[in-house]
């Protein structure tokens, strides 16, 4: 028996799936074990990701052939820097969200569906881990589908009519996106005979001049497909409803992680599978850049007029995913690193904000921003964490949002595009315009005790957002190792 670390990625995915399928049985027969099982599997996920990160950092990236079949026929997993980075992000944020969720969900969900929620959550995590590590386009498609279904399901699990409608809208559009991804994959397979990203990168430069139409179609469909799933600007229509209607931990995971995983998949396909020369001939990245700029401005502007706090956060997500795509589509060393960094940073900020909003809704039932006056007096820690998140969104130095903005802006200047920096700054200002009034209203301008009914906030919920808030500050002050790691990642990709 030699179980070395190279098996870990597949063990992660398999164990998460195993736990997911065990969960309904456990929940039916031994209810008290269900929650520990979820926590244990997520903790295992987080720990092994950490270990994997250390191993890859030390030994270098490695490949894993599923079933012992070498590519081009077998499915290959490639565990490179990017993959471990994504794994770590997903696992840690996922763990925190579900730890928080245990309390919140008991409050918000019907008892009998809780077990199913855990199943779906683990399935979602497994599929995201799968997308991160796989190096095979079709396998990626399958994981994308699984994640789409489970993501829809954790929205619809509340069974209110808003949830179901949002979930159905999401499902339909998401399937549309999957169809596009599948067709694009087929197009690539048609001209190269490969589905493996590495092989595609080898073969595509040789065949691209023979089949320009196929390349064009595949690029277009990939952009549409991943764009729909990651809510890139004109294809974002499903996001606000879906992220608003879902239970708070779901919103945190959906906004913080799920849309990011598609952005990462986009990065994998576009920068790892396609040769760089294609983008010189076909300006698809310019289009994505343009869309992401629009996304940043649109998301920020629309967020300003929202009344529901979760809806506001959802629109803000549209703007933030714009940053990620902005970094990727610039295709410079610093810019891509900035985009990746923003995946991590925004995952922390946005899940924290959603979880804080969840606490507010949990303990007071308030959803409208207008009604949140004086909340800072009643829920000082929650609103304090919210403030940190808001400051980070605006990009105040000392928070991690500043670091990613800095990196992105520097990346844009590297490529001689100061106008992008102006867009980033403009959006920071807009962020300020819609986050700051909440903070100000919560803390200031209230004389005496506000008349609010406050339920008791469970400690676990509070600790999880405080932990995330601490992370925001920590990575705002000491991002150096993370950035060094990302530099390595980007060097490997480009």
């Amino acid at each position: 028996m030699n179980l070395n670390y190279e098996h870990l990625p597949v063990i992660i995915v398999a164990l998460l799936l195993l736990a997911a399928f065990l969960e309904p049985i456990v929940y039916r027969h031994k209810k008290s074990w269900a929650a520990p099982l979820v926590i244990a599997s997520m903790a295992f996920f987080a720990l092994s990701s950490l270990y994997l990160m250390a191993a890859v950092n030390y030994h270098g990236p490695f490949n894993y052939y599923l079933g012992g079949w070498a590519p081009p026929f077998g499915i290959e997993l490639e565990i490179d820097y990017l993959a471990v980075f994504l794994l770590l992000t997903f696992s840690v944020i996922g763990l925190i969200a579900i730890v928080y969720g245990l309390q919140d969900l008991k409050h918000g969900l019907k008892d009998e569906v809780l077990g199913w929620y855990f199943t779906l959550y683990l399935l979602l995590m497994a599929s995201m881990a799968g997308i991160s590590v796989t190096n095979d386009l079709f396998n990626m498609y399958v994981f994308v589908e699984i994640s789409a279904i489970s993501a829809c399901a954790i929205i619809s699990i509340k069974e209110s009519r808003e949830c179901i409608e949002a979930s159905l809208k999401y499902l339909i559009l998401s399937t549309l996106g999957s169809g596009c991804i599948l067709l694009a994959t087929a197009m690539l397979y048609m001209i190269t005979g490969h589905l493996n990203i590495g092989y595609l990168n080898d073969v595509l430069p040789r065949v691209m001049s023979h089949y320009p139409n196929n390349i064009l179609i595949s690029l277009g469909f990939f952009v549409v497909g991943y764009g729909v799933k990651a809510a890139l600007f004109p294809l974002h229509v499903w996001l606000p409803d879906a992220h608003t209607a879902a239970p708070s931990p779901s919103s945190a995971v959906l906004s913080g992680l799920v849309i990011k995983v598609y952005a990462a998949a986009f990065l994998k396909v576009f920068l790892k599978a396609y040769p760089r020369e294609i983008f010189l001939e076909i300006p698809v990245m310019e289009i994505v850049l343009f869309l992401s700029v629009l996304a940043i401005l649109y998301g920020s502007i629309v967020a300003m007029v929202q009344e529901d706090i979760k809806k506001m956060l959802a629109y803000s997500s549209i703007a933030q995913i714009g940053y990620v795509f902005l970094g990727f589509s610039l295709m410079g060393q610093r810019a891509v690193a900035g985009g990746l960094l923003h995946i991590f940073n925004h995952a922390m900020m946005k899940s924290m904000l959603f979880l804080a909003a969840g606490i507010i809704i949990y303990s007071t039932g308030i959803r409208r921003i207008r009604d949140m006056k004086g909340l800072g007096v009643k829920l000082p820690l929650t609103m304090g964490a919210f403030t940190i998140g808001a400051l980070s969104m605006v990009g105040i130095p000392g928070t991690n949002g500043f670091i990613s903005k800095w990196q992105l802006a520097l990346g844009a200047l590297d490529l001689g595009r100061p106008i992008i920096v102006v867009v980033i700054l403009l959006s920071s200002l807009l962020n300020c315009l819609y986050y700051m009034p909440i903070v100000i209203n919560a803390f200031f301008g209230v004389k005496g005790e506000p008349e609010l009914e406050i339920g008791k906030v469970p400690g676990v919920m509070l600790y999880s957002i405080l932990f995330l808030g601490f992370g925001i500050i920590f990575f705002g002050i000491y991002p150096a190792p993370l950035l060094a790691f990302l530099q390595k990642t980007v060097t490997a990709i480009l």
Partner: protein, 147 residues
């Protein structure tokens, strides 16, 4: 559809359909078909049964608990079978290199782990089909979603 003729024919047909489904499942590596297709056939037979008689009769044959167990059990079995190769020092889901034979045409038990994989998938797909159908018909009194 509470018709005598339909019921009798159903009684007659369903065992054969199920047998065929099992055949498809178990001979997945030898002939067209496999876990997915066979499981779907078995599941479809159960649905047919439930349609011809009524839902109570159908769920008596395959109760929700059993269905749940089969559904999860199939998936778990598949993953566990995949782990076997790993315990033998090979990659996940490895068949040939882990010492299992690759299969001789025409021989049912000649292909090692693939047989187990097929059976596990068959269970899973078949029971999932039934669950889905019941859920759709029964409506929202029980919540369930697909995998």
């Amino acid at each position: 559809m509470e018709d005598l003729l339909v019921r009798i024919i159903c009684r007659l047909v369903v065992p054969f359909v199920q047998l065929y489904g099992l055949y498809v499942i178990t001979h997945g590596h030898l002939s067209p078909g496999g876990g997915f297709a066979g499981g779907a056939i078995v599941g479809a037979s159960m649905i047919l049964f439930a349609l011809a008689f009524n839902l109570e009769a159908g769920s008596r044959k395959l109760s929700h608990d059993i269905s749940l167990l089969m559904e999860s059990g199939g998936a778990i079995g598949f993953i566990l079978a995949g782990f076997v190769a790993m315990l033998l020092g090979q990659n996940f889901l490895t068949n040939k290199a882990a010492g299992f034979p690759l299969g001789v045409p025409g021989n049912l038990f000649s292909s090692g782990a693939i047989f187990f994989f097929s059976v596990a998938i068959g269970f899973k797909v078949g029971s999932t089909m039934c669950t889905l159908f019941y859920n759709l018909i029964e409506g929202s009194d029980r919540h369930r979603s697909s995998e």
